[in-house]
Symmetry: C2
Subunit: 328 residues, 2 copies
C-alpha cells in the first residue's frame, strides 16, 4: 500500500464533497448502492447496457427504498436525481465517485477501468465491489492505478453497514482515507485492510465457517435448516452484538483475552485439527441443494418472500443495535 | 443414539410437567440457568460448595433478571422460589430436571453423575452444560446413562436462545425429545444433533471462524478490534437474521442453493485451501492479548461494563427479531 508517484494535477488534493456518483452495473449490488447513494442526496448516473435498465433501476430502487437503515424513503423522490446512461464514458464524466459492480470477470474489469480512468475527473475515486479479484490485476491497463481500490459491500448493499476497503500495491493511502470518509458519510462502517490480501476478511471468515457447516451436514450431524437454527440462535446473535475477539475477551472474565487464551488456547488449537475438510463435489452439492429446497423452497415467489424476510430482519436488528448504542 | 434397554419403572413414561429443577454449579452458566428457570416459575435448588454461594446466587439473579429475553423480572420475587443446598444428593432429590454446570473436569463429572443417578427421581432428566466432554465418558460410572445428555447453552445462558442437545451412544431418544420440550418451554431454541459428535456444532463453527480471525490478525491484515468491526458489521448481522445456508440459498436467486453452488462452489472449495492455519503459541497469544487489552481494557470495572453492554445489545437484537417474526 505504498503511495504511487503523483503526476502534477492528476489528483487534486482538495477534492470537494461528493455530489455525483456513477454506478456501473445493475445487479443486486449495483441497485443497492444506487438506492443508498440517492437516499444520501447524491446525483446518481447508472451505467448499464441492459435494454430494460431503466425499469430494472426503478424496480430496484422501489424495493430497497423500503428497507433503508435510516427508515423508508420515497422512491419517486429518489428517482428525480437518477439518470440511466448506457455509455460508460458519459456515465462517469463529472462523477466524484465511481462504484463498479460488474461480474467477477477480470478481462472486463481491466478494460473498464482503463476507459473509466480516461473519462472520469482526475479527482474521482474509483471503487470496485469485487469480492475476489485483485486490485493490481483490475488496474493493470491503467496509466496510474493510485485511485483504484476495492470497496466491497455485503449483500444487501443498501442495508449492511460494513464496507471492506482493500487497496492494491499502488493505491494512494490518502485516497483510502478519502474513500473511508465517503463510505462513512453514507452511514457505512468502512474497514480498510492493512496489507494486500487474497479475498476480503469477511469473505474469508464466512468461508471458514461455511466449510465446517458443509462438513457437519455432509456427515449427517444436522440438516441445513438445523444448522441455520444453530447459527441464528447463538453465534449470529452474539456476533451481531460483539465480535469474536471481544466475546472471548469477555469469556476470560476480568483477565480478558489473555486469561482466556492461556486457559483454553492450547485446547482450542488442538480442536482446530479436528475441523472438517469436506469436498464440494457433485453428490455433496446434490445433498445440500435438496435439503435447502425442501426447507426453504425455490423459484421466484419463494425467493422474493425469503429476500423480503431477510431484509426486514436485518433492518430490525440494525435499528435495535443503533438504539442500544444511542439510547437518547 | 440407539435406545437403551429400559428397566421396568426406572423411567416412568408419563413424567409430569417440570416443576423443580436442580442446578449444579454457580459459575456464570449455572447462574444464568438459575435465573431463567426461576423466571419460568420453577422451584430451583442450586447446589454449590462455595462458602459465598448464597450471595453469589443473589448477585447473579439480580444481574441477569434485568436482561431476560421476555423483559426484566423482579429478583426478589424470583428468589422466593430458590434454595441453596450444599449437599448434592439433597439438591437433586425431588428434581424433575438436573442441569449440571461444573468446569470441564471429566473425573469430577463422572463421579457426580453416578451420585446424581442414585439420588434423583427416576424420571429426572440429567442434563450437562459441558461443551467438549463426551456424554458416554461423563456417564461411564452410571448404572444406566439413558437419561444423561448434553444440553449446551451459550453464554449468557439466560439470554441466548440456542440449546444444543448432544446425546451419547446410550441416551434414550424419547428423553432427547422430552429435554427439547423442556428447553422449548423456557423459550429456548433446542437443536438435537443426529449423530455423536466431538464438541458441539456451534462451538465447532465458532472455532472455524476464530481460526481464520487469528490468522488475519497474526498476519497483520487487521487488528482485533478491526476484525470485530468486520464481523459485527456484516456476518454477525446477517447470521443473526438468517443462517449461512439460507443466506447462500438467497444468494443463488430463484435457483437457490443449487444454482449458487453450481456457479461458485468449485471456486469456494478452492479458496478453502488458502485459509490460514495459525499457531496459538506464546508470541501469538501475546500479540492478540495486547491488542485486546488496548482496544477493550481489562480488570473488573472494564469487564462489568463490557458484559453489561454485550447483554444489552444481545437483548436488543433478540427483541427486534421477535418483533420482526411476529409483527402483531
Amino acid at each position: 500500500m505504498s503511495g504511487a508517484a503523483k503526476g502534477p494535477g492528476s489528483r487534486p488534493e482538495a477534492a470537494g464533497p461528493v455530489r455525483t456518483a456513477a454506478v456501473i452495473g445493475t445487479g443486486v449490488i449495483g441497485l443497492g448502492w444506487t438506492t443508498l447513494f440517492l437516499a444520501h442526496g447524491l446525483d446518481v448516473r447508472v451505467n448499464s447496457r441492459r435494454d430494460d435498465a431503466e425499469q430494472a433501476v426503478r424496480d430496484g430502487v422501489g424495493l430497497f427504498a423500503a428497507t433503508l437503515p435510516a427508515g423508508p424513503a420515497d422512491p419517486e423522490e429518489l428517482l428525480t436525481r437518477l439518470t440511466v446512461e448506457p455509455d460508460v464514458e458519459r456515465a462517469v464524466a463529472g462523477a466524484d465517485v465511481v462504484q463498479e459492480n460488474l461480474r467477477e470477470d477480470l478481462a472486463a474489469k481491466r478494460e473498464l477501468f482503463a476507459r473509466v480512468e480516461r473519462a472520469a475527473p482526475g479527482h474521482a475515486l474509483l471503487l470496485s465491489s469485487a469480492s475476489s479479484l485483485g486490485v493490481d490485476d483490475m488496474g493493470a491497463d491503467m496509466a496510474d492505478p493510485a485511485r483504484l481500490m476495492v470497496g466491497h459491500p455485503f449483500n444487501p448493499s443498501h442495508l449492511v453497514p460494513l464496507v471492506e476497503i482493500v487497496p492494491g500495491g499502488r493505491t494512494d493511502p490518502d485516497l483510502v482515507t478519502r474513500a473511508a470518509d465517503f463510505y462513512r458519510s453514507l452511514g457505512k462502517t468502512p474497514v480498510a485492510v492493512r496489507r494486500p490480501l487474497r479475498g476480503t476478511p469477511a469473505n474469508r471468515l464466512q468461508s471458514a465457517l461455511f466449510r465446517e457447516a458443509v462438513h457437519l451436514v455432509l456427515e449427517g450431524i444436522l440438516t441445513v435448516d438445523e444448522l441455520d437454527a444453530v447459527v441464528t440462535g447463538s453465534l449470529g446473535l452474539r456476533w451481531g452484538a460483539i465480535g469474536p475477539f471481544r466475546a472471548f475477551h469477555l469469556g476470560g472474565g476480568p483477565g480478558g483475552l489473555r486469561r482466556m487464551l492461556e486457559a483454553v488456547g492450547p485446547k482450542m488449537a488442538r480442536e482446530w485439527q479436528h475441523l472438517g475438510t469436506p469436498d464440494l463435489d457433485g453428490p455433496a452439492v446434490e445433498l445440500l441443494a435438496e435439503q435447502a429446497q425442501e426447507a426453504y423452497g425455490s423459484g421466484k415467489h419463494a425467493y422474493e418472500r425469503l429476500a423480503a424476510e431477510r431484509d426486514a430482519r436485518q433492518a430490525a436488528v440494525l435499528r435495535a443495535l443503533r438504539a442500544a448504542e444511542d439510547p437518547a
